[in-house]
Symmetry: D2
Subunit: 348 residues, 4 copies
């Protein structure tokens, strides 16, 4: 990223490794819609000459003197969120907000990202996880952001056995939201989206019904399918600010909304007063950035190793070679109909 709306290659010094840090080379990376927001919507404000990218699997080339569990040559999963684990926020259970709201998000936000020859990882022992031998690096790169973000939806929505859920949005995060809901015991999963390829894969991941917003008000469609009862849970994984209003309307009293979507427009999200029970309907609205760090990566990697989640379905476009990153990023920007997620693998 050269500036808002402008991308290109830049030369930078190799990053410096602190005593508890690591320097890695990327061996698999993926561009994210957030990268698109950052560059072409200026979501993070003006940034110049910042290296993009926060989804990667890498190989360690250097570690600080206090790093205990990793060494050069190790192949590692690198989470998009790399908290400062001794911060008070992390101690309170919200490591993703270490040092301030969203402060655990460092790559391509407050420092250079992973689309470089080398990148810097703060607190290597706390934030890296060994790549299990059985995992394809291209599939594993989905562990950086898509899997933890998608699965966090069910955590925020406090999914329980047999819950009915509406997942709004079936891009890669929404698809992982569907897969994650199955792994927390959801029964009926109403997935909202319109792209046929996404709808097909949503069903493979466990969606029981596809709700196409082009067929009319999604609240009405959900109410029709649930005999007017609405759903127990909503996972918000796409769409604009209006989706919150829809979510409240389709939710049963006692239900939870788990938002994992970035809202980029409007000054306000709106809660419809009456359908929110004039304040007293026990329709809880939660939303949060994915948890990152080492333990999370290890746990989610174990779901891939044991076959509970198959991320390869997401990888519609595969590239090979460092210089293909730009092409992959442009693909993410242009979103062709058959795209879910591009990935670039790199040999050194």
């Amino acid at each position: 990223m050269l500036g808002i709306g402008k991308t290109g290659w830049i030369e930078k010094e190799k990053p410096v490794c602190g005593p508890i840090d690591a320097i890695c080379r990327p061996i698999a990376v993926a561009p994210c819609t957030s990268d698109v927001h950052t560059v072409w919507e200026g979501a993070l404000g003006e940034k110049s000459n910042m290296i993009l990218g926060h989804e990667s699997v890498g190989e360690i080339v250097e570690v600080g003197m206090l790093v205990k569990d990793f060494k050069p040559g190790d192949r590692v999963i690198v989470p998009a969120i790399t908290p400062d684990w001794n911060s008070v926020e992390a101690q309170g259970g919200y490591s993703m907000h270490s040092g301030g709201m969203l402060g655990g998000w460092k790559f391509s936000n407050i420092k250079d990202g992973v689309f470089g020859e080398f990148f810097h990882v703060n607190d290597a022992d706390g934030n890296l996880a060994l790549l299990p031998d059985s995992l394809d690096p291209a599939a594993a790169v989905m562990l950086s952001d898509m899997v933890p973000t998608g699965l966090h939806g069910s955590e925020l929505a406090r999914m329980e056995y047999g819950d009915t859920v509406c997942v709004i949005g079936i891009g890669p995060v929404g698809l992982m939201g569907v897969a994650g809901a199955v792994l927390r015991g959801a029964s009926h999963i109403y997935a909202v989206g319109s792209r046929p390829d996404c709808a097909r894969i949503a069903k493979e991941y466990g969606a029981t019904d596809i709700i196409n917003y082009k067929n009319g008000d999604i609240v009405k469609q959900i109410m029709d399918k649930t005999n007017g009862n609405g759903v127990d849970r909503v996972i918000l994984a796409g769409g604009g600010c209006d989706t919150l209003e829809q979510s409240v309307k389709m939710l049963k009293p006692g239900g939870y909304i788990g938002n994992i979507n970035y809202f980029g427009d409007d000054d306000y999200l709106k809660i419809p007063r009456v359908e929110w029970g004039v304040g007293m309907g026990h329709k809880t609205i939660a939303g949060g950035l994915m948890p990152g760090g080492r333990l999370r990566m290890e746990k989610l990697a174990s779901l891939l190793v044991t076959g509970r989640i198959d991320t390869s379905k997401l990888l519609t476009h595969r590239f090979h070679g460092f210089d293909k990153i730009e092409e992959a990023l442009m693909l993410m920007k242009d979103k062709p109909a058959d795209l879910i997620k591009p990935v670039v693998t790199i040999d050194w």
Copy 2:
């Protein structure tokens, strides 16, 4: 209530007692701001010839044949919320929404209230609690609504040891919100209000600081007092829809807002997008009607019996005699400066 804006006495048949129900006489009652909303703001829509009131301590005069634990002559605490305990909502932990959102609220809503010579209680075994001998009925009538509603604020806000909290509103519910926060381990309690009598009593209940909105933006005042960090929790117990926006702004990431206030205006409550972390700030917004029923009344009564809460501070105006109910209600409507809560005790 004769109709919107009109009150008066009406003659009605004594209610009929079903097999699991009870009929009571009131021995202490209190009007609630909700009664004022119902009559003068039409909060529940048009209602004609409905007996008002949902806060009472009573004496049982009749029980259904299947009632096991109560008998005529028993003096009982009657919660404002009397759920159908075998409903699916109650089974799911949200008894206050039994049969539909807010459906556990029956008195002076979907049936006659407690401001009559006799009133009907559904599911006596499930919804009544014996009045402990050591409790003054006037103090105990605060258990119907003020105590459970106020204390629910800290439950919704998931208070933990040492949390800092802002309690917005220091009417009787907000004061119980303050008392309830102390009993869940809050440290600094910033209570927002302007009436001197309420401020004084808020301090007696444990508020450490009084924030007067007449002295400027309450968000700024809170930020100044917390070195710019904001608070861990917000309990919303008064004010209009704007208080939600303020709450989000003063809340730390990872914080909870617990709303126990009735919102009566506007079509929408608004969440400020940026301060809500563009959807990802882990600032959870919860709001809910008080839990009612027998167990809750027994548990909260035990807090009065053991002196953990002293509700007598709320009772600024005491009346005696059934015919004083109207005067008490008008007092609630007019809200003189020294009023917190009127109560009427009745002999039969």
Copy 3:
């Protein structure tokens, strides 16, 4: 059950239907190991002339006058646990202990069970669930006990995404424990058992490894497979009192043990002091009877309807006809090597 150790057919009056109750005929029933405990081990003490059985799908033949949601002719799932929903225990979230510890267990315990021409269901609206048309009654009868008991293991053990778990016991409850762990996000599932048929089906339900106690100490086997780390969770679904000690030894600090097993021997279960962190290791020991009632049945039925769980794998022996119940019960007592669960379907 005629008495301890004696079974046979008895004639009884048709049960009487109270105002909120229902009378049903069984259309599918299954004997349970608990029935075997009751008769041949005297687990409930001396009982004479009590009809056995608590797993059934039935057809309603009569409902009380206050029953709202069911009518004669309805086909219903009948949970083994049928709480009194207005009890203080149910209000506190422990409906299975309504009226006293384990008090929600009524069938073949404190009243006649379901192995009769007619059986009585207390609180029909609160305890029955309509049988979805798409479900085979024989498969659905597993919803009475096997599914809710098995799945409760992961609830007691507070399963989270990517947890490793040891499930001790792979009889029908343990197998549902395995299936339930998958549906709460477990990754590696170490299933302890020795019978080849059970081991095969455990793998189909999602076990990643089978631990055969005949091959040596299971704690050592688990430690070897986890690089000495132990597991995050243990679900106890079989075995004697010694399994608790083993569970504590194989559990990581911060872990949970969820017991769903009936312990029939010894005066005490034992916690090894040192491995329990001299009292401070945060290894939590939980154990509890399955939650019953209508909502639970509806939610779990939705897991069968949507294909999240396939109970038909459990049904190794199918019988047809009311008079085959005794044969099925004897099979459960004798436990042939290829038995998991017998079921009897009945036409009327």
Copy 4:
């Protein structure tokens, strides 16, 4: 500590400060019963020439180059438990077990303690908290261990509004268990102990009843006081292994036992099978080491600053001067009748 059973002064090198660490001088310290266990019972095995002590308030004399929030001269609260915050255990919410069970306990366990001229604190930013100006260092030293351990009892026991609780043990930890129960909403608090001074102070902290085990079986006494119902929660803060059996017997189904006691005898703790509901009574047994670290100290310090807890009642014996530490330790060993907690303040 020179060896098991032997204490004395030793000369050691000043500890070395790593890049994220701090070196402190003690300005207030307190000996703990754990120190007595360590020396005279050999609870940690053979240790030679180890400096004792883990309760202190100190002054920083040196910080590592990566320490951001503290500087020499700062007066700080030093928790007994100082975790490695980037460990997987801490990331999973169990920082006290960082690096292995009980691994967050470093002082006077795996390194020298605080009864020296200088002591070393790992991860200063993560583990120290500034001493608020308004706090007396002698009162604040109770924040190192007594307050967090005592209050953790109610967390482990998941205290809720109006719960009845039995606190077994009314030494300093048990007294903080009583105070902590009040701050989580307990109503009736039955405190078990026999020493008159402790009983008096327990009442000041909020105990409603004192149960003296010298007056007979405490289970029977509790049952008599609760009409045979038992209690909702038990906090175990003293006594031998038999107290677990008593706790299970006096607990209601659905209840929690929170153990904060060190168990030093016997190979096993025993759970009575029948009273534990043959494994299915939902009587959960939890036990754990106190949470330490900076945030915890800041939160608990705020409870002292706002007057929610008054630790000065614990300080029955005050000493002044570094050389009085041995006298204070011997006092802790000999436990005179009027002792609750000795504290030593030190000028430099």
